[in-house]
């Protein structure tokens, strides 16, 4: 399976978005989405961990015996997450403290394992790196959007700067867990509707012209 970098990017960002379509990896990050800065830090961490893990595992793919593949994958991922944790502690001690256990939880983020299994196991290192990175960016896009809404309505600010007018009453529920669940569902709904509409339009066009069907994206893989 070889795919073009541009197509991989579009797929990971939109047609096969890890959160919206594959529903992967929400566990470890949803908790920090009431604050845009922390969400950015976390999702950059996830993107880098995914990219480097995919790259490394793709390099090693012929050396790992099948039986211990999963544990090797987890160890490689843990290695990169420990690096991220150490870097955060050194350069962003504030964010590191607020994120608490969630940095370590990047290890069990299913997106990383998912990309390692679905893509890196069958592709060259460099393109695997790109696939991991773009998956992370697709993930980042969704979570930052959710964090924007939550911080804006929950605190009246964006990235810590107050943007809402004087009389604005903050919506406390946006700081609490339920709002994250509701917002993920709403974004998911929107994205799937848009895609379904596009698909329907494509189908109609195909029926009209009997043109070849557009190639489907790589099938979503479960970790």
């Amino acid at each position: 399976m070889s795919a073009k970098p541009g197509k991989i990017f579009i797929d990971n960002l939109w047609f096969n978005n890890p959160v919206l379509i594959q529903v992967l990896g929400i566990c470890s990050t949803l908790a920090v989405t009431n604050n845009v800065r922390n969400t950015l830090v976390m999702t950059v961490g996830v993107s880098l961990a995914t990219a480097f893990s995919s790259w490394t595992l793709s390099l090693m793919k012929d050396l790992i015996p099948r039986k211990v593949r999963m544990i090797v994958q987890v160890l490689v991922i843990s290695f990169y997450v420990i690096l991220i944790d150490i870097l955060l502690r050194a350069y962003l001690p504030d964010a590191s403290r607020q994120l608490g256990p969630y940095v370590g939880l990047i290890i069990t983020n299913c997106i990383i394992m998912g990309r390692a299994e679905a893509f890196a196991a069958a592709n060259k290192p460099l393109i695997s790196f790109w696939d991991g990175l773009t998956s992370g960016i697709g993930y980042m896009a969704v979570l930052v959007a959710i964090a924007l809404v939550r911080e804006l309505l929950g605190f009246g600010s964006v990235l810590g700067f107050r943007v809402m007018p004087e009389g604005f009453v903050p919506w406390t529920i946006m700081i609490t867990a339920p709002s994250a669940f509701f917002l993920v569902a709403m974004v998911m709904w929107l994205a799937r509707n848009l895609q379904a509409r596009r698909e329907a339009a494509a189908k109609a066009a195909k029926a009209a012209k009997a043109a070849p069907k557009p190639a489907a994206g790589p099938s979503p893989a479960k970790a």
Partner: protein, 315 residues
């Protein structure tokens, strides 16, 4: 425009006297809250159903009425609109409309604004009586009012005369106070089989038992009888825990459901950050309803299998 639902009409009849009480207690303020609630709630359902080609249910009227009656009288009207819009949209339409919802629509809406704007709602009380004249203002911005509801008095260790509680001569949300009228509605709905009496009794029993237990354990502010009469306990026990869509269907499950709601309501209002726990209790009860039904069904199936096995052995 509306789909006919005789059961829902009976609930509306049962709510009518409470509505009249609310007009006596808070005057135009109560009407304004109701007007916004009905306009937004029915509007959201109509928009959704129109897209699907369905009819607006009369159940949404019941949800709106219950929601409006459970608002504090001085609540800002935009909060009223936000809550009912959320409730009808997220708790009902998204699940597929009437009869499909898992969570009580009125409670979902109320809790959304109650958690969000605890400050704004917690201080939104008005003195009751005289068709809103007691509050000194009819519609516009309402002056800050430093009175305390019986529930708040109890939390701080004060006492409340029981007769006033019974007659609804106290401050509270728009329609939670008139205990006598709520009890009359309960009898009417139980007699016409509009609402399940088991659910009401179980909820009240759960609340009484928990408050009694806490009192015996030395928690002074948990007074059993007052717990039942203050706040929105009875209102919720009679109108919300009996919601036929979100309550369990099997009798043993219904008992467990009511007891759970009563107990959780008392525990939350006694110990947690929030002064009132009834709405949370309903949502928690709703979460357990399907599981209780499933467990009751499994137990019944096991019993049947055992009986069949015994009969087979005897034969």
């Amino acid at each position: 425009m509306f789909q006919k639902q005789p059961m829902m009409r009976k609930v509306l009849w049962a709510l009518a006297p409470i509505g009249l009480y609310s007009i006596w207690a808070y005057g135009l303020r109560a009407l304004a809250v109701a007007a916004v609630t009905f306009a937004v709630g029915v509007g959201v359902e109509w928009l959704f159903e129109r897209k699907k080609g369905g009819k607006t249910s009369e159940a949404v009227l019941v949800s709106c009425a219950l929601y409006a009656l459970s608002m504090p009288p001085a609540v800002p009207l935009w909060i009223v609109a936000l809550g009912i819009a959320f409730g009808v949209f997220m708790a009902k339409e998204v699940y597929g409309g009437f009869g499909r919802n898992v969570f009580n629509v009125a409670i979902a809406g109320r809790l959304f604004v109650y958690i969000s704007f605890a400050g704004a709602l917690g201080g939104a009380w008005l003195p009751h009586g005289g068709f809103g004249m007691a509050a000194g203002s009819l519609l516009g911005p309402v002056d800050a009012y430093s009175g305390a509801t019986p529930l708040e008095l109890m939390r701080t260790g004060g006492s409340v005369p029981i007769l006033d509680l019974l007659l609804g001569l106290r401050d509270g949300t728009i329609g939670e106070a008139p205990i006598v009228l709520i009890l009359a509605a309960a009898v009417y709905m139980a007699a016409t089989k509009t609402a399940n009496w088991k659910l009401m009794v179980a909820t009240a029993a759960g609340g009484l038992a928990t408050a009694g237990g806490l009192l015996l354990a030395g928690v002074a502010k948990a007074l059993p009888l007052e717990s039942l009469l203050a706040g929105s306990f009875l209102f919720v026990a009679v109108f919300m825990s009996t919601d036929p869509v979100t309550a369990p269907k099997k009798a043993p499950a219904q008992w467990a459901y009511g007891l759970l709601i009563g107990a959780v309501a008392v525990i939350i209002r006694t110990f947690s950050l929030f002064p009132e726990g009834t709405s949370f209790a309903i949502l928690i009860g709703n979460s357990f309803a399907s599981l209780f039904d499933r467990m009751a069904a499994d137990a019944a199936a096991r019993k049947k299998a055992r009986l069949a096995g015994a009969a087979g052995g005897a034969a």
